[in-house]
Structures are given as structure tokens and as C-alpha cells.
Symmetry: C2
DNA sequence: TTTACATATCTAGAAATTTAGATATGTTTT
DNA sequence: AAAACATATCTAAATTTCTAGATATGTAAA
């Protein structure tokens, strides 16, 4: 895990917002219809609505976050759900504590 | 202090390196000639030598880091010395712990 | 087995970042 | 007061990021 790669993700307000929203899906998103929980996170459409950006941009951002290992995607039928990769997020903070 | 602003600084390897080097000036830089300590940090010339980048780029990076309040400049004669702003750096990590 | 829907990828233009050379500013030395 | 030196700022080109529209892909519904 590299500081630069994750810092790049965190250098954009929308991407940081997404990470924050995913801390508490119940508080930040409407309930899903197919499933009655947020165990695998939140579907792309809901995240897109919150960002106010285009579908492609939102998907690109999520992909960048996934690339940095900050989120984990899970497919359920037509939908892809994204949730936080908590261990990696915490490890990044610990890494900063040690390195910077 | 904003996450985005500091993350932008940390999204560049050279700038992260500078921050790391400044943790231990004795280990990473030759001794200054005018003064026999690193109490106010390290002069721009020494930092430039380590980066391998141009004088203007190094100065610009240092300025960006100062803008983000991550380093503190002190003038001694012809030289400007830069040192880490430890409380701000630690506060940023604490902020990340809470927010992201 | 088309059609509809959710998401991903491709393409591209606008904006920001990276970086260096040229020049300016401030300080010290001669 | 001029020359020398350390650092800062200006200008500009190359690269990267940001963002959306168009299109592709995968899944479910009709």
C-alpha cells in the first residue's frame, strides 16, 4: 500500500465524501429495494445521486478507489455495491503515523 | 485545516520525501555552515540537492507545503530554513482518523 | 430472445499539476 | 555601491486529472 496512491484518491472532495458516506449508509442513503441491508455497501446509483456527478464519473471514481483498495465491490444481480475496506483505511492512517 | 489540501501535498512523492527527510535532518542532510544545529530545519539548497529537482521546483514545492501549513520557514541571513510543523501534521492524522 | 436496466469503459475537451528556465527579490560581502 | 549568493516568482510546455457523453457489457424482466 502506497501513501501517494491513496493520497491521490483523498485529494478529491467527491471521493473523500464517498468514503465518509459509506461509514454510515443508513444515515446517508435510502434503503435498497432488492436487499434490506447495507452489508455489502451501497449501489452505484445511490452514490451517484449523492455526488451529483455523471454516472460515468461516479463509476470512474469508485473504480479508482477500488484500485487503491479503499473499497470493495460486490455484485448482486444488476447492481454493484461498494463498501469500505476498513482494514486498509486504518492501515493507511497507521502508515502515515509512522512515515510522514 | 482541510483534508483535500493536505492530501494534495501528500499525493506527490517528492513532497512526501521532503516531509520524511525533515523528521531527521541530522541523518539526512550535511551540517549547516552558518549555524551548527537544525533547530529551524534545513535550508532550501540542501533540500534541493536531495530532491534532484530544479531550484524553482523545489522552492515551489516548499511553498505549497508551507501554504498547507505543513512546514514552517525561518530566515537566517541569506538562507531560508524549513522545518516540520509537527502539531499540524499530527492534527491532520487525527482528522483523518475521525473523518475518513 | 428482445428489451430494459445498472454499471463499466472509451473518447475527448477543459482544467490542474508538474517541472524547468528566466528573472526578480532580498541579503551579504567586497 | 556593486557583485555574489540564496531563494522566490513568473512563464510556459508536457503531463495528468476531471468530467461528461457515447458506447459496451452484464443481468434481469417481458
Amino acid at each position: 500500500m502506497k501513501i501517494i496512491e491513496i493520497s491521490k484518491v483523498l485529494s478529491n472532495k467527491t471521493r473523500v465524501d464517498i468514503l465518509k458516506w459509506l461509514k454510515d449508509p443508513e444515515a446517508n442513503f435510502p434503503p435498497h429495494q432488492d436487499i434490506d441491508h447495507f452489508d455489502d455497501g451501497v449501489c452505484v446509483g445511490f452514490i451517484q445521486d449523492k455526488t451529483g456527478l455523471s454516472q460515468s464519473t461516479t463509476s470512474t471514481y469508485l473504480h479508482a478507489m477500488q484500485n487503491a483498495d479503499l473499497v470493495i465491490p460486490t455484485r448482486h444481480g444488476k447492481w454493484t455495491y461498494y463498501k469500505r475496506n476498513e482494514p486498509v483505511i486504518q492501515a493507511y492512517i497507521e502508515l502515515l503515523k509512522r512515515e510522514i
